[in-house]
């Protein structure tokens, strides 16, 4: 992973002191609420329903054991002993004291971490495939490009007061595990006809009030042009994006209003003037950054392991976990392990201080000291030897992180909802609990196969409900929580927006409604047809009829 040099360290250290002074001036009454709002947001600090919330950046989801232990320490010392992983692959703490935030940031800086640009109308954490660098289906490791974008976008003087927040995702595999098509900019490493690797560039995707799938602005961008092209897009957006209405301020609205062709014309005109400037990446710099992401020294004898097969045959629970919660690795004898943060009885994405330390220990002992966070709110130990999987599984199971539900209905993305968030209209955690109780039969879940269930407590869509195979959106109706259900969404390479099933359902009826939807699926499906494929083939009507049928 990328290791800070003196410059990187100085930036985070000076940023801590800058924020310490901003906090001091705010508490002394020298900074207005509005000004401090914009400044604290650019450092990840929100004021939530109960307390401030601090969002800590995990650049492209990559984190070391040392950093995980620091997060555990922060959870224990400054919070109530837990944190929450988000769809931006960051972690948030829900109970810090405002006056202690500068100290937390100083602690983070000690382990090369920060909260810079985890909120606010600026360029946010760039995200990527949690299996980057280790998945066999990859064209090229996207992480060096994420790091290059991280450096360019960090404290960028021109793009700190954009019309609205700005999110970039990079993928290196034709299989999209980063929801790249619903980002402000999606970058796909692709090969052109000449055999060169560069980027397909999408722009104007996003969720929120107006969900839109990103549009291709350029089929192929040479690698050295990455930053000049990004800067051109950002400059056009900064100048032309709407500022009169925050709900119409994202780049997707601008692209829709101008049309992708007119938008492209403006971007490329701007790009022409800056393309040959110092923004052009040098081979030396790309090589320097790539040097931090070289493959580990894998054990050549790992593939000769014979113990795994026996363990899979003799231990049914282990086999089930292996099938659901591990992912193939490009090196023979290794697997990537998904650490499930979707237990039966706790909120999706939550993790305790002890669990953070357990993952840190496992990473150190079995996975080269690194872990990743996923946009589905789980963690990944990317490089585990086959021979070590059993031990890793046992330890994860002991600490409630081995529920074999990855990719199933209960591997839900869930925003914190009304219980924590000041923006939310409805609760989500109680609904997730209801679903967990109603769908506790794992054999039934396995029979249903891969289903992405995403839930948001309001229209801002932090839970990505529009692109869930099943989406649940909490709405407030005269003081009561109701839930609108969509089906047929996808955040993968076949991205699509879900269609509304019908009128919203009462809080108590959500799990029962899901049961009916899934009954309809079981009735309708052909052999091997996934839920999403089935919805796409038969449409919404059979599901609607099942759910809203009048009882006879």
């Amino acid at each position: 992973m990328y290791i800070y040099n003196e410059v990187d360290q100085k930036i985070v250290d000076e940023r801590v002191e800058q924020f310490r002074d901003q906090t001091r001036r705010f508490l002394a009454g020298e900074l207005s609420d509005d000004q401090f709002l914009a400044l604290r947001l650019m450092n990840g600090l929100y004021i939530q329903r109960h307390a401030p919330m601090l969002r800590v950046a995990i650049p492209y989801g990559l984190i070391s054991s040392v950093q995980l232990r620091k997060l555990a320490h922060i959870a224990r010392t400054y919070d109530k002993g837990y944190g929450h992983f988000t769809t931006r692959t960051n972690i948030q703490f829900n109970w810090p004291k405002l006056e202690e935030v500068p100290d937390i940031l100083a602690e983070l800086a000690q382990v090369q971490m920060h909260a810079i640009q985890t909120s606010g109308n600026c360029i946010r954490n760039t995200t990527t495939d949690p299996f980057a660098g280790v998945t066999p289906d990859e064209l090229e490791d996207p992480r060096p490009w994420c790091e290059i974008i991280r450096q360019w976008s960090t404290l960028h003087p021109e793009f700190a007061y954009l019309p609205r927040k700005f999110k970039i995702a990079v993928t290196g595999s034709p299989r999209d595990r980063a929801a790249s098509q619903v980002h402000d900019i999606g970058l796909h490493l692709v090969k052109n006809d000449a055999g060169e690797v560069g980027f397909e560039v999408l722009v104007g995707g996003g969720l929120g009030r107006t969900p839109i799938i990103g549009k291709q602005i350029r089929p192929f961008l040479a690698k050295q042009d990455l930053l000049s092209y990004l800067e051109a897009i950002l400059r056009v957006y900064n100048l032309k994006g709407r500022r009169d209405n925050k709900y119409k301020a994202r780049i997707k609205i601008l692209v829709e209003a101008m049309g992708i062709d007119a938008f492209r014309e403006e971007v490329e005109a701007e790009w022409d003037t800056i393309r040959s400037s110092e923004l052009a990446l040098t081979d030396a710099e790309v090589a320097r950054v790539k040097g931090f992401f070289q493959p580990f020294e894998y054990d050549a004898s790992a593939a000769a392991d014979t113990t795994l097969q026996g363990q899979l045959e003799s231990d049914e629970a282990f086999r089930v976990w292996y099938e659901r919660n591990t992912h193939e690795h490009k090196v023979a004898g290794y697997r990537s392990v998904v650490v499930s943060l979707k237990p039966q009885l706790a909120p999706a994405g939550d993790i305790t201080d002890l669990q953070l330390e357990v993952v840190a220990d496992l990473a150190e002992q079995y996975s080269f000291g690194e872990a990743r966070s996923t946009h589905e709110q789980n963690l990944v130990l990317a490089d585990v030897k086959n021979a070590d999987l059993y031990a890793v599984w046992q330890k994860l199971a002991e600490h409630n992180m081995a529920r074999p539900n990855i990719g199933t209905l209960t591997d839900m993305i869930v925003c914190p909802g009304f219980d924590f968030c000041a923006l939310a209209n409805a609760k989500t955690l109680n609904i997730a609990e209801q679903i967990n109780q109603a769908f506790d039969d794992m054999d039934y879940l396995y029979d249903l196969g891969d289903i992405r269930l995403n839930m948001s407590g309001c229209i801002n869509a932090c839970g990505h409900h529009h692109v869930g195979n099943i989406g649940i959106l909490g709405v407030d109706k005269k003081g009561e929580d109701w839930y609108q259900i969509t089906i047929g969404g996808s955040d993968r390479e076949d991205a699509s927006l879900g269609k509304v099933l019908g009128k919203s359902v009462a809080a108590d009826d959500v799990a029962d409604t899901l049961k009916k939807i899934l009954e309809a699926y079981v009735e309708q499906r052909t052999d091997e047809e996934s839920f999403l494929e089935c919805v796409r083939r038969v449409g919404v009507d059979p599901f609607k009829e099942k759910v809203y049928a009048v009882a006879h």
């Binding site: 914009a38 960090t154 007061y161 400059r235 100048l239 923004l279």
Partner: protein, 160 residues
């Protein structure tokens, strides 16, 4: 109005802001909103004082870029704390080779000064009640940076 130029407090603001064509004085140093400047056109020829224009994010910069060498000062308006269009306007002007004074007016805030300077501003005008000497400290808070900008086009990796 307190004014900083090149990180120094300056007491004399020699510019006369004129908002209507009828009141155009013959010899003063004039600061004209871009629309008024374009409206005046010929009548400014032979004007004895210096000319500056004031632009904002709604303006088309093309006529300013075309005549940039005529202006001793260009003022860029920041109508609200969160309106960041002026940062891009400044970069475009500097990129085009504008060498004169680039002044942030409206409501530049202390915590934006570092970024503004990096984008090419060298002057900042504040409301009386907003300014304090402490603002001078704002420029040095972050002493290193990754990306190039108007201050130095080179990213950090090309600097050594």
């Amino acid at each position: 109005m307190p004014l900083l130029i090149d990180r120094q407090i300056v007491n004399e603001n020699g510019w006369l802001l004129v908002e209507e064509a009828e009141t155009l004085p013959q010899s003063a140093d004039l600061l004209l909103p871009l629309a008024l400047y374009l409206e005046c056109g010929e009548t400014l020829k032979g004007h004895k004082g210096r000319i500056a224009v004031k632009v904002n994010g709604d303006d088309d910069l093309t006529p300013v870029l075309e005549s940039k060498d005529l202006f001793a000062m260009i003022a860029i308006e920041f109508p609200a704390f969160r309106d960041g269009r002026g940062f891009s306007l400044a970069r475009i002007l500097r990129r085009a080779g504008y060498k004169g004074e680039l002044r942030a007016v409206g409501s530049p805030a202390r915590d934006q000064l570092g970024y503004m300077e990096r984008c090419g501003f060298n002057a900042f005008e504040f409301a009386d009640e907003e300014f304090s000497d402490d603002f001078l400290k704002a420029f040095g808070e972050i002493s290193v940076r990754y990306q190039g900008s108007s201050d130095d086009p080179r990213p950090v990796y090309l600097q050594n």
